[in-house]
Assembly symmetry: none
Homo-oligomer: 209 residues x 4
DNA sequence: CATGAATGAGACTTCATTCAT
DNA sequence: CATGAATGAAGTCTCATTCAT
């Protein structure tokens, strides 16, 4: 909106700050509404600028998505890699990741919301794929790497399908994140993770028949 | 079939048949590309009609989505309710549902693909919510019902958060379905479910320390 | 515009006729204002439709240009080829072409106006080139062909640069067409051609000193 | 140079020099890409400044065009007037102009390229007309003046349409300039002029039957 | 003198939807 | 029942221009 019909440079616009606000607003919208339904106007309105101004910071909507992806993947997987480093076993690592994701979720649900939607969006908008590929590796190899390491440590039965296990872990994490996004309540993620932990340690079911 | 005892119309170019084909094509598109990116033209092209003709069968794109939802929810939960009726314990019921979903997935990935996307789509396009609500109950109360029944049977510790458990089960199922959709390969769903089953019966990890 | 805010199919729109009117309006605009300055809205206003309606007839503005090109090149060079067939010598052929171009010019100045602008437009908008290339040959080889034939008939000194001669003939024709377009008066083309003819037959200058 | 006896300013980063570079870059762009497709940013990039800086030197893009026009017309017609002064007959004067234009063309094709596009641009962007009119006279009356003088010298048959002859000469010159611009090769201008000269002196055609 | 953030108008294009036929 | 011409709103993006710094 810009408050007045004024034109020209605003009194004291901090450029880096504006960029951050654009990326932040974009992540929230992309996470909640998806790539397609997120219009430049919605993002611009959230930031308090006009749609065209976005093009001072990114070259296109697709590049905006890629910029958000870059930021967010870096943030999330740096975190995840740190917490798994503190654990020795696959299940403990997975638990630690789930808990770290809880924190992220409570702190800013758009972070996990964005990440878990990426796979769908790239499938729906193949032009995004090319822009994201430089960073895709880190994302897609996280659970694969965890499982491989566990196998090397001899934690798994020899005949386990490693890709399927990595798929499972990823699916559980993203299923939970999406559930809480759909519920609009990050606490439901936390609660569900707690139930899952109880399942792991056997305190869920009353009697095992 | 069954709505009216229609008689005498030629079998080819049948109106009810055309409606079915529209709903089917729409489900595939909605599941793969999402509500927004699915245009009437794409659906019409798949069916072999023109976009305007869709309006003979539904009043709007949103109502088309609702019609698909109605059909699909009915199909899926009738199936699911049937298989859970054959099991006595929550975990067995969940396993049965996962296996039934495997079959659906192999048979027509658009069925589960559509269902697991509904929550996101209604959040992204709130106008869909009103049209879907008549049928939302069945969908959202499925796992809740399973968990409640298990609690009544005394299968759960008394302090278990039932909604969280239902959320967890739903999240795992939809996480798996989405993973396989993203992978574009229903067999990865099957494989991941097999790993999950091995987790249940303890044959996944080599040694429990 | 559309006279009323009505929507839906107009009472009796002849589709082929509308297409012709779009191409015609587009040719006039392209010839006078150039590709860039010619907006879909201007064309649509000329035709009495909305800008989006153009996309029922062509896939893009560039394809509209190509369609106009196709039509116009065909029209012009069919004419030109017919008149040169009636003449034996290069100069007579060129005169015949100039005269035929007079008629075209008087009849519809946008025809020659469009043709003589094509080279510039394709240079300025390289994406047009690809769309036009299927038809470019006819255009670019017309004078080349005339000159080659004249050389084969032995009309030219052996050392004449044939490409330069073809360039000259093309330049004179298009220079004249453009002059009259700039003047906004087709009669100035006719008058200039008459002067040129008098130059050919020696009745221009009063005495050669 | 010469406007004011500027003294003491450092030679580098000189304001007048920057203005010259802007005008030069603008002429090249205007000549090659046209007024519309030439953006302030392209010009600024060529010069090594930012688009906003252009507004320190001219008040608008249209005035920039006018400034280029002013410079270029002055340059070209001062040249042309000098060479025609050395000739006695219309045809010789025209030849001299064609040859001088050859030199210009080889030296800096943007000069003639700009000039021959002016008529079109003013037609396409009527707002330019007002800004150019102060200088239009020199341009439009050059060949008119030549022809009038020739008529006064008795070189022409009495019934010759003088405006048409001036139109013809202008059309030939600008047709040739444009042809070479389209070909992207100034040598084709030179070659075509040579052929035209051979036409004048009768050494083009092998036999006049 | 110059930058660069920002605007606002407007371009091309897509699409759900309508309706005469 | 179906077509297909047409609309109008909206979306992405471009660009001349302004102005605080």
């Amino acid at each position: 909106m810009g408050s007045t019909g004024r034109v020209g440079r605003p009194p004291a616009g901090d450029s880096a700050e504006t960029r951050r606000r654009i990326l932040h607003a974009a992540r929230i919208r992309f996470a909640r509404d998806g790539y397609r339904a997120t219009t430049n106007r919605l993002i611009a309105d959230d930031v308090g600028i006009t749609p065209g101004a976005i093009y001072h910071y990114v070259e296109s909507k697709a590049e905006l998505y890629a910029a958000v992806y870059c930021d967010t993947v870096d943030h999330v997987y740096t975190d995840f890699e740190r917490v798994v480093a503190g654990e020795r076993h696959l299940l403990a690592q997975f638990s630690a990741v789930l808990e770290r994701a809880c924190d992220l979720q409570m702190n800013d649900p758009s972070i996990t919301g964005f990440i878990v939607a990426v796979a769908q969006e790239t499938q729906r908008h193949p032009d995004l794929l090319a822009l994201l590929s430089p960073q895709r590796g880190r994302h897609s190899r996280f659970f694969t790497g965890l499982v491989e390491a566990a196998a090397e440590r001899g934690e798994l039965q020899a005949d386990v399908d490693q890709r399927a296990l990595a798929d499972l872990l990823g699916a559980v994490l993203s299923g939970l994140a999406r559930m809480s996004a759909a519920a609009g309540d990050p606490k439901r993620y936390t609660a569900a993770v707690e139930v899952l932990e109880r399942f792991f340690d056997g305190s869920l079911v009353s009697v095992r028949s």
